[in-house]
């Protein structure tokens, strides 16, 4: 019967073209606006590493003074270099990585390419690549021994390799960073986790890093630090080991919840030990959020993206209320037709389904048009100055969601009119027809 209902829907919708267009346009605008903002929200709040986001944990300690500049009860968002180095040496997790963002001058030693500054530098330790599933197209990352020895090695991003050498086949070549020569041991493919979860102190939705080098090496060759630095006591050098300043990030990979619980116990014991040693003033105050918890804690999705989504959903609701009114008018106008069908053997259920299919057809056509409007809306978003603008693209799940939203919304909008329509008393209609 669905085929019959579809044919009846087509006939009915053609009967009053203006009303039909009004309904379709209302749905299309509501769906288009909603899908534009939902797509942006979807991109911004996506799990950046779904295959292991529940096994990667960010480590937070609280070495602040009890009284002073920062009396927040929250543990720090970053770590002191001393704590990070202690945790790295302890190797209590399956994998661990210390890191910070940086910037450096690059000298390609080519007459046609003058030295240039590079902002996308990651100073980190050996496990970084395996922890975050960084995709290599040539070579590998460095080893823990390279970290210990401050080896003069580096890994390049594909874009930097092509810019400097015109190729990604560059293993063994030398790259001059600041004033030191580093040997290229790996090249990674385009890699841009969205959001940039492993370091939210730099651009949350920015481009991926292009130069990776051992943290120990970066300290020796004076690569610049980028990101925030917070200090809570007097100091002469914020970046020195033992300085009361937080500026590095520390991630661990733990393969089970039991290991995560054990690692948290270890962090508490570590904090107690630091307090006993007089390094910490506060009682143990540690956190170990996984990737999605860390993103939620940092509220990475911009407030305006959420606000726009709520406004668009409100607009969709207004469009749907209008559609309910139009469908109600349309269906009740057909009371005579419904009365005849009931007399000829249609059950209330059959009439209800017939009218609901008609609402669904409006939703489907509105969805197609809404998809076009969403595409147009996302095009407009991509031309905004926001850092996430270039990420606003419809992917397959959102494309399917657009149709699902349009049909679901219209069928929901059709429920009341269809129910009212199927309640038409046939006897009254046949008498008055």
């Amino acid at each position: 019967m669905i085929g019959y209902y579809l044919a009846l829907a087509g006939r009915s919708l053609r009967r009053n073209v203006v009303l039909t267009i009004l309904m379709i346009v209302a749905i299309a605008f509501g769906v288009g606006a909603s899908m534009t903002t939902l797509t942006v929200l979807h991109v911004l709040s996506a799990d950046p590493i779904p295959q292991k986001s529940d096994r990667l944990y960010y480590v937070q300690l609280d070495p602040k003074k009890l009284r002073g500049v920062d009396e927040s009860p929250e543990p720090n968002r970053q770590m002191t270099l001393l704590d990070a180095q202690n945790l790295l040496k302890a190797k209590k997790a399956d994998r661990q990585a210390l890191m910070t963002g940086g910037n450096a001058g690059i000298d390609a030693q080519r007459p046609d390419l003058p030295p240039f500054p590079l902002d996308d530098v990651r100073q980190t330790t050996a496990d970084f690549f395996s922890m975050f599933d960084v995709p290599f197209i040539a070579g590998t990352g460095w080893t823990a021994a390279d970290d210990d020895n401050a080896a003069r090695v580096c890994v390049l991003g594909k874009a930097l390799a092509e810019k400097v050498y015109g190729s990604t086949n560059v293993i063994g070549k030398t790259l001059r960073v600041e004033k030191d020569d580093l040997r290229v041991i790996g090249v990674i493919d385009d890699w841009r986790p969205v959001p940039h979860f492993y370091d939210l102190n730099t651009d949350t939705y920015g481009k991926g890093d292009q130069l990776f080098l051992p943290f120990s090496t970066s300290l020796q060759i004076n690569v610049g630090h980028s990101g925030s630095t917070n200090c809570w006591d007097e100091h002469t050098d914020a970046f020195a080991v033992g300085a009361p300043c937080e500026w590095v990030q520390f991630w661990v990979e733990l393969d089970s919840k039991d290991k995560a619980a054990a690692y948290k116990d270890y962090l508490i014991a570590y904090s107690q030990e630091q307090k006993r040693a007089g390094t910490y003033e506060r009682d143990p105050n540690v956190r170990l959020p996984d990737v999605m918890q860390w993103l939620a804690y940092n509220e990475v999705v911009p407030d305006d993206a959420r606000l726009q989504t709520w406004i668009a959903l409100g607009f969709l609701l207004v469009c749907l209320v209008n559609t309910v009114g139009l469908l109600l008018t349309k269906f009740l106008r057909r009371s005579a037709d419904i009365g005849v069908r009931r007399a000829l053997g249609a059950s209330k259920r059959a009439i209800f389904l017939q009218l609901l299919v008609e609402a669904g057809v409006v939703g489907l056509v509105g969805g197609v048009l809404g998809l076009g409007l969403a595409w147009l809306g996302l095009w407009a978003v991509r031309h905004q100055p926001a850092t996430y603008a270039d990420l606003a693209h419809l992917d397959m799940p959102m494309l399917l969601s657009t149709f699902a939203l349009a049909i679901l919304a219209t069928v929901l909008a059709g429920l009341l009119p269809a129910w009212r329509g199927c309640q038409v008393a046939p006897a009254a209609q046949l008498r008055s027809h």
Partner: protein, 233 residues
Amino acid sequence: MLQMTQVSKVFRTEVVETHALRALDLEVTEGEFVAVTGPSGSGKTTFLNIAGLLEEATSGEYKLDGVDITKLGDRDRSRLRNEKIGFVFQSFNLIPDLDLFDNIDVPLRYRGFSRAERKKRIEEALERVGLASRLRHYPAELSGGQQQRVAIARAIAGGPKLLLADEPTGNLDSQMAREIMRLLEELNAQGTVLVIVTHDPEIAARAQRNVHIVDGVATDLERGPSLVKKAHA
């Protein structure tokens, strides 16, 4: 075929209670042609609506072809209405934006017949009422008499045992009215039970039985076989 026992229908509003039917007892057997007469507002149409399962009685028992209607839900009542009953209305009640084929197709769709079966029945029904050549015409392109013949074709396409007609000639001139009555009587002669609600004494006179309703009270005026019936016999 149709058995009503103590059937009553009361329409209630906040201020008034109208007794449209009062304790109606009526039995119509296989092959009968019954005319239901009475003044306007007497309850004739209410009787027809209850008989056609378009309205529920307030009280009493109604059996259609042996099935107790009072125990059925909407789905079963609709199925029974579709299978057992054909309707012919005074104002034809054809669906204006469907052509004749699709109009007659409506009850057959709800019956769940195959495409081929529906086509066969529609063509046979239109042939029966003499409009086989107008298959793809729309109701507005036909005269009143032709529209009523289409309505009859639609009513009989599913092969119902009971034909309920509400003033089937009320909107027609006398010649067309005679044509329609001849058609209905032919159907009755072939075994379809015919119940006609009418003001027209001429039609009433052609029926085997007259049931007269006044103020919701029915009187069964037992008559002998109608003249037409005798003629057929």
